[in-house]
C-alpha cells in the first residue's frame, strides 16, 4: 500500500497509540487524528489501519466497543488500556532515543 507507512511499520503503532491517548476514537477517527497530529505527513489507509488496530487489540493495548458517533452512526470505538499506556511510554522513550541518535548522526 502506501510506502510511507510501510517504511515506518513500527511508527504506525506508536502513532495510533498516541492518537488514542486523549480519548477513544473509531477507525476513521484514528486515521483523521493521525493525519492531524502529524500535520498530514502520514495518511493511514484502511488496508493498514484495520490490521494494525486488530493486532494491537489482540496484544492487549487496546480494547474496543461499539458506540454512536456524533452524527449518530454506529461505530467501533477503540480505547487505550493500561498496557497500552505503558506501551506508549516505552515506545515514546525508544523513539526519542532513536530520533536523538539519528539527528546526532546526521549532524556529525
Amino acid at each position: 500500500m502506501d510506502k510511507k507507512t510501510d517504511l515506518l511499520q513500527g511508527t504506525l503503532h506508536l502513532l495510533i497509540l498516541k492518537a488514542l491517548s486523549p480519548r477513544p476514537l473509531h477507525g476513521l477517527g484514528v486515521a483523521q487524528r493521525v493525519a492531524h497530529i502529524t500535520q498530514q505527513t502520514f495518511e493511514v489507509k484502511p488496508g493498514s489501519l484495520f490490521p494494525a488496530l486488530h493486532r494491537m487489540e489482540e496484544a492487549g493495548w487496546l480494547k474496543s466497543e461499539w458506540g454512536n458517533s456524533e452524527n449518530n452512526r454506529r461505530a467501533k470505538y477503540y480505547t487505550l488500556t493500561g498496557a497500552g499506556r505503558k506501551q506508549l511510554q516505552t515506545e515514546t522513550t525508544d523513539w526519542e532515543r532513536i530520533a536523538l541518535g539519528i539527528s546526532h548522526a546526521l549532524r556529525a
Binding site: G27, G47, F50, P51, S69
Partner: protein
Amino acid sequence: MRFFSVLAILWRNLSQRRRLERDLTDEVHSYLQLAADAKVKSGMEEAAARREAAVDLGGAEQVKERVREVRAGHFLAERAQDLRYAWRSLRKAPVYSLTVVLVLALGIGSTVLMFALVDCVVLKGPPFPQANRIFTLWQRIPEEPRVSFSPNEFAAWKERTQVFENLAFVAGTGFTLTGGGEPELVVGRIAPPSLFPVLRTQPALGRAFTEPESNAHVVVLSDALWREKFSARADCLGEAVTLNGEPYTVIGVLPPSFNFEGPDAKLFVPGSLSSPFFAAHPDAHFLRVTGRLKPGVTRAQLDEEVNRLAPQVDDTKGGPTRRYFALSLAELTTGELHTPMLVLLSAVAFLLLIACANVANLTLARISARQNEISIRAALGASRPRLVAQLLTESALLAFIGGIAGAAIAFWGLDLLRKFLVQNLPELARAQIDGRALLFAVAVSTAAGMLFGLGPAFSSSRARWQSALQGATRSTSASNRTRQALVFSEIAIAAVLLIGCALMIRSFISLIHVDPGFRPANVVTAEMVMTKERYAEGPAMLRFYRDSLETVRKLPGAEKVGLVTHLPFGGNNWGNGFDVEDNMGKADADYSAQIRPVSPGYFGAMGIPVREERDFDENNRENSPGVAIVNETLAKRFWPNQSPIGKRIRYDKEWLSIIGVAGNIKEARLDADSDMEIYVPYPQVSAAVLQFVGRDLNYVVSSSSPGAIATELRNALHALDPHGVVKVNTMEALIRESIAQPRFRTWLIGIFAGFALTLACLGIYGVIAYLVTQRYKEIGIRLALGATRANIFQLILGRTFKLATLGVAAGLAGAFFLTRFLSSLLYGVTVHDPLSFLLVPLGLTLVALLAGYFPAHRAAAVDPVKSLRYE
C-alpha cells in the same frame, strides 16, 4: 499471564469466527459510512462522496482479508477453511472422489496387509524375549540338510559349551490323551526343564517344570489344548490327565503367544537324558538342540565353538561329509519365508506406485477442468501458496479417507487370509493389524497423498490464470507430457508385476504337474498309533500289525492294501545312517537314507513301480533272512553299472540282502529331489527299533470308491482297537497341503498383478479419453478437411499403441533385471522364461489397445459441425 491471554484470544478467534466476521464487516461498513459522511460534510455530493469513500477504502474484501491474516490462529483457521472447502468440492465430484478413494484404499490396504505379514515374519521374529539370542544346532549331510543330535552328542556338547548360558533339547512325540470322551492323539514335546529359561518364557498359568522334576509325570499345556480340553478353566492346575496310559499332573498353561516348533506342539512333558527312553537310544539322532547365548557372545564366537566342538562330539564315524552348523531361531522358523514375503511386499509397493500415478492423473485432469474456478479464486485475492495449500488439502483429505478405507481392507483381508492360512502357514497366524501396522498405514497414506497431490498442485499453480480465464488454453502441453509419463510408468510397472506373476504361475503349474513317483489318485490313508500301554512289546505290535492288515484287506472295495510307518507327505520321516557291504572301510562311508518299514502290497497300493525282482511277501517274517528294497537313487549311487540284487546293506545290526529296486518318489516336497530310500519288511525290524519307529501305522488303500472306503476303514480300525485314534486322509490332499505356500503366494501375487493391470488400463483409458476431448475441435477440423473416420481412429489408437509399447518395453527391461530375485521361488522355469516374456507383453499391449479403443471409437464418431461449435 500473557500466555493465557494469547490462548484466550486464540480460542475466541477459532470458536467465535462468525461473530468476529460480522463484527469486521460492520466495522468496515461503518468506516465507509463515516468516511462518506465526512466527505458530504466537506461539501461533496452524496453519491460522489460514497463512490470516493469506496475507492479510498480500496476494496472491502481485501481489507477484511488483511485483518484476518493478522489474527492469532489465522493459520489454523485457514486450514479448517481449506478442509471445509475441500470436503464440499469433493462431494460435488463424487465420481472422482470415490474412484480416488477406492484406488488408494486398494493400494494402501494391500500394502498394509503385506506389511503386517512381513512384520510378523521378518521384523518381529519369534515371540520370545531377546529371541535373536536363541540359536539351534544342526548337522548336515549330503542327503539331509538338517539332522538332529543324538543324546550322546547333546550331552557332550552341553558339558563343553562356553558360549551358551543354557542348552536344551526338544524331542517330538505323540501322546494318546484318554479320559473324558474320545481318546485323542496329541502331538507333544519332551524337553528338559532348561527349555523355559532358554526361551525366557513362563507359563501364563501355573509354573514350568523344574530341575528336580526332570523325570516327573507333570505336563505343561499349550493354550490351544487348554481351551480345547479344559474349556480354559483356571482351576485345571493339579488335575490329573492320562497320557499313554500313565497319570500326569497339569502344572502349567502356556501363554497364547507361545509358538515354539509350530502350533502342533500341544503339550510339554519333562525328560532327561537319564530317562529309560533316551538311555535306550543314545545314538539316535532325534534331539533338536536349542540354546540361549551368554550376553556379549557374538555369532562369530558361536560359529567358532561349533567348528571346535563338532569333531569332539561327533559320535558317527566322523565322515568328512558331516557338517555342524548353528541357525538362529528366526532363521529356522521363518528363514524360508523371507524371500517370498519381501517379493510380495515389493509387488504391493509397485501396485501402490501405480495407484498413486493413477490418482495423480485423475487429479491433473480434475484440476485442468477446474482451471476457471481456480483463476477466479486467484483473481479474488487468493495467493499462490494459498491455492496450492487448497489443492493439497483436497489430496490430503482423499489420502486420509483412502488410508482409513485401506486399513479396513487390510483388517478384512487378513481375516480372510487367516482362515485358510493357519493350518498351512502357522508362521503367519500371528500376523495382525496392530499399532505398528496402523502407523505404517499412516505413513503410506501420507506418502501417497504427497505423491499424487504435490505434482499436480504445483504444476497447476504454474499455469497462467488470466489466459485460463479467457478460455484461451485448456491445458498446457507440459501437463499433457506429465500425464503420459505417468501412464508410461504405470504400464511399465504393471508389466514387471505381470511377468513376475506369470513366472510364479508357470512355476506353480510345473509344480503341480511334477510326477510324485506314485499314483495319488484314489488312494485313501488311515493313520493309527499303537500306544505303549496297550502294545508294550514287539510281539503285541506285530500281532496288531497282522490282524489289522488282514481286516483292512478284507474290506469290500479295497482293491490294493499296504502299510507304511512313515508315509510320504505324511509329515513324518525316519532318516538313518547305513552301511554298504561293498564300501566298508572307505573314508567317506557316512551315508544316510530314508528308511520305511512297509508291508507287502505297499508298492502296489501306492502305485510305486518295483523295477527289479519282486515285492516283499508274507515269507519275509521276523525270523527269516533280512531283505530290503532300495530306490533307484541308492542303487545308482552304489552300483551304477550293475544290478544291486543280492548286495547287502545294513542300518541296524543285521545285514539285509537287496531283493528289488523301487522307483524314486517325492518324499515331502514336490520340488525336492529324492533321497536315498531303503524299504524293509515291517516284521523284520528289530523289536528295539520297532518300539521307537514302528508305532505309527499308515494304511494305504487304493479303491475306486475312496469316499466309501474312508468310512469303512475308520470303522474297521475302531472295531479292532476302540481306544485307538484314527486319522483318515487321501494322498491327493496330503500333496495339496505340501504346496500350500507356493499356492498362497501365487494367488497373492496374481491378485496384485490383476489390480495392477486394471489400474494401468484405467490410466490408459483416462489419458486417451482426455486426449480425445481436448482435441475435439482439431478432430472436427481434420474431418471437415477430408480425413476419413478410419484415419481418426488410427490416429488415436496409434497414440495408445505408442504409449503402451514404450511402457511395455521399459517394463520388459525392468523385469529382465528384477526377476532374478524370484529365482529361489521358481520351480521348473527360468527367471527369463521366454513364454512369460513373450505372452505378457503381447497380452498387455492388447489390453492397452482395448482400453484405448473406446475413446478412439468416440473420436471417430465426432460430428465435425458440432465439434467446431464446441467450446
